[in-house]
């Protein structure tokens, strides 16, 4: 969907592409001269598009004079970067130790059952992506998860249907 939006037709979509592309170009300009520019630029791409679209990586490849193979190597190494688009709402269930001990697995399983998607999967309507994530560092609220910017803490699996209804 993101792909269509970025490269489809229609005025709004085009305006949006330009705006997004401009941000990427600005980031490339900002980091071009520093050593080790690739990762900061990839952060910007991920931030703007929600993932790393291949066409944008090709632009990065030309601008930074780095082969696509090397960019792919870096992008696929780090968990934070994604090469595939995600749903509108990303559910990140913390799987840090404190949360795991307090039942994060059951929480994750319940999301999987309710949404009928496996972990790391996206629902058919593209509304949710379910992820198991590394420690969010909010261990006092364990088990904890984030949906977008919002943090939900001190949960039991029975809270899941109600949380999903909020979106």
């Amino acid at each position: 969907m993101e792909e269509q939006l970025a490269f489809g037709c229609g005025h709004t979509a085009e305006a949006e592409i330009d705006e997004k592309l401009e941000k990427i170009e600005a980031a490339i300009e900002q980091f071009r001269t520093i050593k080790g520019a690739l990762i900061p630029v990839l952060h910007e791409v991920q931030d703007v598009y929600g993932y790393l679209p291949e066409k944008i990586l090709q632009i990065v490849s030309r601008a930074l004079n780095l082969p696509m193979s090397e960019i792919y190597g870096v992008a696929s190494f780090y968990h934070f970067f994604s090469l595939t688009p995600k749903g509108d709402n990303i559910i990140r269930v913390c799987m840090g130790t404190a949360c795991y001990i307090k039942g994060a697995q059951a929480l994750l399983d319940r999301f999987s059952t309710e949404l009928k998607v496996p972990v790391q999967g996206t629902t058919e309507d593209n509304k949710f992506t379910l992820e198991a994530t590394r420690c969010l560092g909010a261990c006092g609220l364990a088990p904890v998860l984030t949906i977008g910017e919002k943090v939900h803490g001190r949960l039991v699996p029975n809270n899941v249907p109600k949380i999903l209804k909020e979106y």
């Binding site: 590394r134 560092g137 943090v151 803490g153």
Partner: protein, 625 residues
Amino acid sequence: MKLLTDLDAIRTLSKGLLDNRRITGQTPESIQFRSVMVCGGTGCTSSDSNAIVDALNKEIANLSIQNKAEVVRTGCFGLCELGPVVIVYPEGIFYSRVEVKDIPEIVEQHLLYGTPFEKRIYEQTRKDGEILNFEETDFYKKQVRIALRNCGTIDPEVIDEYIASDGYTALGKVIMTMTPEQVVDTVKRSGLRGRGGGGFNTGLKWEFAARQEKQQKYVICNADEGDPGAFMDRSILEGNPHAVIEAMAIAGYAIGANQGFVYVRAEYPIAVQRLMKALDQARKYELLGDNVMGTGFKFDIDVRLGAGAFVCGEETALIHSIEGFRGMPTPKPPFPAVQGLWNEPTIINNVETLANIPQIVLNGAEWYASIGTEKSKGTKVFALGGKVVNTGLVEVPMGITLREVIFEIGGGIPNGKKFKAVQTGGPSGGCLTEEHLDCTIDFDTLTSLGSMMGSGGMIIMDEDTCMVDVARFYLDFTRDESCGKCTPCRIGTKRLLELLDKITEGKGTLEDLDKMESLSLQIKNSSLCALGQTAPNPVLSTIKYFRDEYVAHITEQQCPAGVCKSLISYEIDAQLCKGCSLCARKCPSDAISGKPKEPYVIEKASCIKCGVCFDVCKFKAVMIV
């Protein structure tokens, strides 16, 4: 530009403000001005502490009592369990789990009339009808705050407050009155050891880099806190970012570097934002830049975001990540102090390590060395988590016992359950048992017991935790995080995980235990970096201390804690079941049948053991057998 004299002026100006943020023992009637500190750490922000700050300001404006109180958003108080937390000075009244709707009453009763708002007072501060200040509670009284200094007493986004709290005095002292050799010597004599996991003497590391005769050297702050369950580095960056900046500048002066990098997790947005703000402020005051404090000393700091790779906590991997490559470690030597970032001499220190430096410079190496044990000096911050009453961040002197931390400070195990194990050191550490509770916490004792200090995660487990499952959890983590460069780690962790999976599924044999032990030792001895060398620790320590549990999984096909899915099944107790049909309606695999008002039954063949029935039953009629 701010010269030393300007800093002194700021200090004099703001001193009064900070003086008000301590417990004075004044009678409520005599208090003219109160400081309301609201925790703005990640934990409390998640439970909406920003809305509390706004509500407090609004209410104070409504009652026009700005002359009677200030509201400060601070760093972490440590007791995340009770967030959002609000502390009112100078009485030291501790409010827990505050809600926005409480604010009008808190402001009117406490700030206007001087009577604490009863409803949200932290229970532990009540004693014989009186309200104690929070420092007298079990959670706080044994703590010694050096690295966490200022977390909870200053606004981390205001540089003047840090300066007023003796900030940048150590940097001034170092540049004006000490030679680089003297700085290195001070840090060396303090006995400070790296807090990120390695435990190497910090001063020695600095000395190696200082000795290199190179034009270009670097100082890196490792804030890639990847150990699940540890969040002290984040809390320091959120609550006292200038201490880290000051320490990096001191390190730069000591080793002869003019450029620093902070490598921080992208998953820590609040910490990154406060750090960036602090860097801007420090540059504006020329405490960073081409002419620090007008002395000609040059030092600046850039921020690099991590991208979620645990192995990047390893020094050489971190360096390659900053260089823009896959974060894979390289063999040492050459050590980074000789050949590091872009092949130049580089020191890498963890956030908590650095946060100690300004205090060591100000108070002297002897002062720091007087705290702690013979070989582990100073304090250590621990992130208490898991099955413990007071989850949160604590800073204690080295040499304290596990029992004191878990049962006195941590308040013991909740819900009347029994303590089973404590895991220290995260995926690189091990699990210790009840018999170790009276052992002291220091680098060498923990290592000799088969665990390690690590970065300071301390996860408490109770009788409902399956130790085989815990080992499997950690191996799943390290297997996933192994960078794949060396074979023992890449393949060894996978094979080890397969054996653990087999046991948790009830298909293991006793020979598997021997295989796991010998494979673990091979991985430990032949892996390239610390990730692989320590990855088997959770397995080895659980086999050593909880062999019975492994044997129960293998010979009896039972999981004593009732966790491993393949070894448990769900049943409905006909006596307790009221026939409400809720479980049958919620069951995703239609495995539950029955008639309303009569006991329901679970059809084992179609049960997928998702546990929904267990969770939803209001009568506790669903049992794990």
